[in-house]
Symmetry: C2
Subunit: 231 residues, 2 copies
């Protein structure tokens, strides 16, 4: 293990008490992670409101005081689930942006990455599925600020695509809402034990949302007024 | 008023008691409608759980017994809101199907009509927004059966489009989920007092979801593997 500024100078080994602290810390982190993962799972399964701290403790086989050692209340756990989900999604989106060319391809990569995040991680599904209206105003503001960063990323890709000519002129905000909506909605129907793989879902969504449903040679009839047909 | 089989034969006027009953009935229907409309509004504003029968009564300026004359409980009201919303959406979808040609155009008309229903009617927004997991198993089954009819309609249009060549080969179920998701999600961000008109939202969604984002001459790069670029 690399020696850090916190290790005991004069020997290559960290102080025993520090080592013990590190071990406890790691242990604590693991338990904290277990609390979060189990909570995310229960929130998604039964809803945030219907999940109690007692139930969470029972599921984790720890006492309530032990649970309250890690988090002061249920809301703190939910905010942390959001934070982890949004961080994971942002990481995927940054990766998508780096490895692709024009705006349209970045949007495609975004949809694919975001869909995969929702399908693959409980924390990602928390971002899409749980109702942040359950939170106190302060916590809600924090979560919405984080979510807004994701929205802004997708809008910037759509704008980039319009500028570089890969995306047709459109209402950027509405297009971004449509993309995010289609993907977020995955959380409402996706079942981890279902027949569709994460890759299948992500690729189909990316295709549909960038290329549309239209067959290459099909004409889309866009009626300005309702067509008047005689029977 | 047209004479009906229930009016008093021998005169052109219905019996006074029947007239009074009809008037009472109309009055009762109007009040029942008012209960439903106010309930839908409160459910959307504060959430179903947080809306109590007392609050509903206060808002309507009627006593609790008067409210319970119309509905036995809050769940009955929610189920009726869903029913009205789904009926309105179905009517719009049927109209969309009649007045358009190929499968792609039907999908376009569907997206436009569905988006308008969500934006224009509180009952439509209830269908998209409220969590049917709040319902008892029996009521939930009823609401989900109704929703499934909408899903089946959109799937049938996508299948029709693939058959008639207007829609590119795709995973019908996933494509339908993406369409419905983008539209349902409108409920989460739409504000009746916002800057965007119902028509603007509906048309943009219809365009994006049928034609995609892609500019006509843009190529979409679909990487089979993540591209390996050297810095």
């Amino acid at each position: 293990m690399a020696k850090t500024a916190d290790t005991n100078e004069g020997t290559n080994q960290p102080h025993e008490p520090w080592k013990a602290f590190q071990a406890r810390q790691r242990n604590s982190d693991t338990k904290r992670d277990a609390v979060l993962q189990t909570a995310a799972h229960l929130f998604l399964e039964h809803g945030y409101r219907r999940t109690s701290m007692s139930e969470l403790g029972t599921r984790l086989k720890i006492t309530k005081p032990a649970l309250y050692y890690y988090f002061h209340n249920k809301e703190e756990i939910l905010v942390e689930c959001y934070r982890l989900g949004i961080a994971a999604i942002e990481q995927l989106l940054d990766k998508a942006a780096v490895s692709h060319g024009n705006g349209l391809n970045k949007v495609r990569a975004y949809v694919e990455a975001y869909a995969k995040a929702i399908v693959s991680f409980d924390f990602g599904r928390c971002v899409a599925m749980l109702d942040d209206a359950e939170l106190s105003p302060k916590a809600r503001r924090e979560v919405r600020d984080l979510k807004r960063k994701i929205d802004m990323t997708i809008r910037s890709y759509v704008e980039e695509g319009i500028r570089d000519g890969s995306i047709a002129e459109c209402h950027v905000k509405l297009a971004s809402f449509a993309l995010a909506g289609a993907v977020n909605w995955i959380g409402t129907w996706y079942r981890p034990d279902g027949a569709l793989s994460a890759d299948e879902i992500a690729t189909q969504f990316a295709d549909l949302l960038t290329q549309g449903l239209r067959a290459n040679d099909a004409k889309v009839q866009v009626p300005k007024k309702p067509p008047t047909r005689k029977p």
